[in-house]
Symmetry: D2
Subunit: 193 residues, 4 copies
C-alpha cells in the first residue's frame, strides 16, 4: 500500500501526522488485528459493482467469485474491506474497489458518503448478517463501474447478472454471512427489483 | 392526450421512446399549463452539476447564468425542469441536464432516484422556497458531470465555483426563489461545507 | 376538509393567498381531475404504517384492507393519497394517515421529507408499478404509529403482520398495481427483511 | 473479551441482553482503549435531539452544555458515544440518548439505521472534523424527543434553540471539533434552514 491510497487530499500546511507510515495507515499484525477484533466493532466498506445505462438505470450486477477467507470454499461476494486507521471512508471504498476489480474498472463513487445500507455483522449465530471473525459494521454502497473489471488478489472472477438473477435464491445461497439480505437491500435501494 | 400514445408496442425490451418527445408526451399549450398549475402541484426535477475527483469528492459546483423566466433579469440557477406526463423521473433528469448543459457534459446519474432533497415551492410570499407561477415539488439531485458543458437554450453560461464560494452570501443572493437554501442543503448532503 | 389539514404553519403577516378556499386547497371536480391526470404526473404520498419497539426496530407492518378504487374488489393497500395544490408534502402525509388510520393512531413522521422510496406508477401495462387512472409519482415513507388504528372511510380494517409475512408471495399478490415491490423496498429500507 | 461472553443462549427469540451491559460487552480499560484508538477507526453514534410539531416539522434543537472530555472547558455538544463490541448501532444510539438526556426524554429513533450524515473525525489538524484522541467515524441522526430531558452524567444542561439560532456563528463556535459543520448538515437534512 502506498500513500496514493489516501487520495489527493493532503494535510495542507499542517505538519504531517508524526507516527511511522505503517502505524499511520493502520496496518496491523495478525495478533494486533485479532486482539482489536475482540475489543471494538470493526468498520468496513462494502460495494455492489453495477453496470448502468446512460440514464443511470441499473442493468447488471457484478458478483465476485472468491475463496472464502473463513472456509476456503468458493463463494460469491461483494467488494468488501476494512477502513484503515487514518483513512477516509471514500478512499477506503476506492482502494478496495481497485484492489478487487483492477485498475481499469473506473468505479464512480456517489457524491455523498451516506451509505445505501448499514450492515451489521455479529460473530455469533442467529443474526441477519454474521461474520465468525468479528463484530463488523459496514457502510454499503451501490457503485457503477464504467470500465473493464479484472479481478485481482483473491477474487477469481466477476460474474455479471441481471438484478433479478442476482436476487434469486440459488445465487443468494452462494453469498457468505447472510449477504443475500444485503444484496437484496441494495437492489431495492436502486429500485431494481 | 390518450392512452393510445403509449401503445404497448413501444415498451418492449427497450424502454426508450422512438417518436419525437413532443408528440408522445405531455407537452401542453400555454393555456393548459396555466390551468393545470392552478389545480395540482407540478412535479419538477432539479440538479446541481458538480465536478468530482477520482474518489467522488466534490471539488467544484456549476451554477447556470440565465435570464429568469419570471423577470427576465440575469440570475443564477440550477438545472431544473418539469417531469412530463408519461416520463420517468430519471429520464426527465437526463433530458434537462442535456438541454441545459449540452450533449457533451456526460452527467452521471445516481443509482437510486431517491433524491438528495425534496424542494417545495409555493406561489405566495413568506416561504423557504417560492415560485410565483405555481406550487412545484422538485426532486433535487447532485450530479457529477465528466465532460465539457456547453449551456444551451436560455442558459447563457455555466460558472464553476468552489463549494464554499457557491454557498457564500453574494452568490446565494443571485439565486431565484430562495434556492440558496436548497443549494446549501445539497452541498451539505455531499459533506462539502 | 378544513384548514387544519394545512397544519400549524400559517402564512405569517403575508396576506393569505387570494383564491376561494376550495381552489386554494386544490379540490377538483371529477372532470377537472380526469383532465389533469391526462396532462401531468400527479404527486402522491404513500406510507407503510409500522409498529416499532423502544429502539425503533420494526416489529409489525400494517396493511389496509379496502375496496379497490379501480375494480371494487377487496385488496390490500398502503396509506396513499394525493398532495393537494398548496399543501405541504408533510401535511398531505399526515392528512392521509389520519384519514385512513383514524384520529388515535398517532403517526410519527420522519424529520426529513426525503422519502424512503420514490414510486412511479404508469397508466399502461408492463411497468414495475402501474395505475390505470394516471401517471402518478409517490413519495413513500415508513411511518411508526404508536396509538390505536381505527380505519376510516373506505378502509375496512388494518391487519398487522410480521415483516416476513407481509413480504410473502400470498400477501404480495393482494396488493394492487405492483405495490408488493414497493412494500419489499420499504421493508428493506428498514433492514427488516 | 472472548466469544463466551456472547453465549448463544442469550440470543433466542428475544435479542435483548439480560446481563449487565458492563460485563457482557466491550468495556475496555483505559489502556486497552488508548491502544485500540491507535489501531483502527472507532465507531461512534451521534444524535441531534429535536422537538417536532405534530406533523414532524423540526421546531427546536437541543444542544448539551458539558465539560469537554478533552480540555475540561464548558462546550456545547451533540449526544455522542461509542458503539461497543457486540452492540447494535440502534441500541448504542438509544443507550447514549438515555445516558445524556435521562430516562424520561422518550427519543423516537428512525425506522432505518442509514444515518442522516456520516461524520469522520481525524486526530490531526486541518480537517473538517477533528478529535485529538482518535480517528472516529460517527453515524449521525436527527432524533425527536417527546418527553422531558434531564441531562445526566457529565452533561450540565440542555438548551433548546430555534434551528436558525443553533446554526448561528456564535453558537457554532461553542461546538467542539468542527461539529458546527455537522450540526448545519443535520439541520439541512431536515430542511430546517
Amino acid at each position: 500500500m502506498t500513500m496514493e491510497a489516501f487520495g489527493e487530499e493532503n494535510f495542507g500546511d499542517e505538519p504531517r501526522w508524526q507516527a511511522p507510515l505503517e502505524r499511520q495507515q493502520g496496518w496491523l499484525t495478525e495478533e494486533e488485528l485479532a486482539e482489536t477484533r475482540g475489543r471494538v466493532p470493526i468498520l468496513y466498506v462494502e460495494a455492489l459493482p453495477v453496470r448502468v445505462d446512460h440514464a443511470g438505470r441499473l442493468t447488471e450486477v457484478g458478483l465476485l467469485l472468491r475463496g472464502s477467507p473463513l472456509t476456503g470454499a468458493i463463494t460469491r461476494s461483494l467488494v468488501s474491506g476494512r477502513v484503515l486507521h487514518g483513512e477516509r471512508v471514500r478512499d477506503a471504498l476506492m482502494r478496495h474497489l481497485e484492489k478487487d476489480l483492477g485498475p481499469t474498472a473506473f468505479p464512480v463513487l456517489p457524491t455523498a458518503i451516506v451509505p445505501a445500507a448499514v450492515a451489521e455483522y455479529f460473530p455469533w449465530p442467529g443474526e441477519r448478517l454474521s461474520d465468525p471473525r468479528q463484530h463488523a459494521v459496514a457502510l454499503a454502497y451501490v457503485v457503477p463501474v464504467t470500465g473493464e473489471c479484472q479481478p485481482r488478489q483473491d477474487a477469481l472472477e466477476i460474474t455479471w447478472l441481471a438484478p433479478e438473477e442476482a436476487a434469486a435464491a440459488e445465487v443468494a445461497a452462494d453469498l457468505e454471512g447472510g449477504r443475500s439480505a444485503l444484496l437484496r437491500q441494495l437492489l431495492h435501494h436502486a429500485a431494481a427489483l
